[in-house]
Symmetry: none
Subunit: 218 residues, 2 copies
């Protein structure tokens, strides 16, 4: 069973915490505001009211025992930076940080947090909504990791009546058509099954390649 510590119960932090709990993970929550702790106390394994810039308090709560720590404190960038520094000093490998700005991100990277451990809720949602709006009928968008995603698009004229072998989508775009939902039923298209109107096509690929494919499709 995976164990996570989340520092900061803002809108991002709260959603992260609730979903981790739904997925069966063990969660320690830290926030310096007691009302936030009260809000999540019933849901989680452990919820502690403390200031994450207080290294002794963090040590005391055993933060170094956690596989992954997410720094989800917000507007006060100094808080976030100092907390990150402390976590790295305590030897925690897997630290994710929600960042506010380029400056915030660059400092945190210098402290040893990889680029793919930076979280940009506004920017990543902006990109994601753009894909939803252009591809017309967005049914699912699941990230495999920060660079690869699952996307569902509605079959457009360009592919209706054609099949995978003639479209050569994998070699042309580097995206993989995983499954098709047709009339509410899911099927794995063979390479010679032609696409039909209203088919919902589930595909996976890097975000860049998905972009190119969606552009071509529309």
């Amino acid at each position: 069973k995976k164990s996570f510590a989340v520092i900061g119960v803002g809108r991002f932090g709260l959603a992260l915490i609730e979903e981790l709990v739904n997925l069966g993970a063990d969660v320690l929550v830290i926030d310096r505001n007691i009302e936030k702790i009260d809000k999540v106390a019933k849901l989680v394994t452990n919820a502690v009211c403390l200031d994450s810039t207080d290294v002794d308090a963090l040590r005391e709560v055993g933060i170094a025992n956690y596989d992954t720590v997410v720094v989800a404190t917000g507007i006060n960038v100094d808080n976030s930076i100092m907390t990150t520094l402390i976590l790295k000093d305590l030897g925690i490998q897997d630290v994710y940080v929600k960042v506010q700005s380029e400056y915030h991100a660059r400092v945190v990277e210098k402290l040893g947090v990889d680029q793919d451990h930076l979280i940009w809720p506004e920017q990543s949602t902006g990109r994601r909504i753009a894909k939803i709006l252009v591809s017309g009928n967005f049914l699912e968008f699941i990230e495999l990791d920060q660079q690869y995603s699952f996307v569902t698009v509605t079959a457009a004229k360009k592919i209706i009546g054609k099949h995978l072998l003639e479209l050569e989508i994998r070699s042309r775009f580097g995206v993989n058509i995983v499954a098709v939902r047709r009339n509410e039923k899911i099927m794995i298209p063979s390479s010679t099954t032609p696409f039909e109107t209203n088919d919902e096509v589930l595909l996976v690929g890097s975000n860049v390649n998905i972009e190119k494919f969606i552009q071509w499709l529309n």
Copy 2:
């Protein structure tokens, strides 16, 4: 070619605008801050400095001609609510609104914006990051439906050194190899990429076919 209007060049708005442009869409950008307009002027079809709570200015810029309008102004909730009201009065069907809070969302819904047109960057990113963190072992949480599943198997002798084209897995077993995790990195195998020892292979198919494939593999 799809046409969009985006009101507000915050972090979300800017990422949305840039991605829409990458996907080949026509974009009108509105912001009352001239520096924001200068920031995007070169990228987009049209960028106008005006206050979106000024109905005459909005009418004048022809906002009613746009398929979709996204209200991406932020912290000032009243601004966002008033802008939404104006857009609905001007008869715009497809309005998306980035919301700050439950209160903000409820008011905007009463103005005729559907629940699925509300955008919650922090909350939706929190949920998504939770899935990425927990599925660190490759997406066991994805359910396609009751009969199809995603499964991860470790590459066995039967496929190591061979690639998809020669193995013909899709036509022989009806399962689809979606992605491969190799040394912690995710990749979409081309039909001529040979599998390697320790590859984690993510596949999808009906439970029956997955069973047959796993049996054959081992």
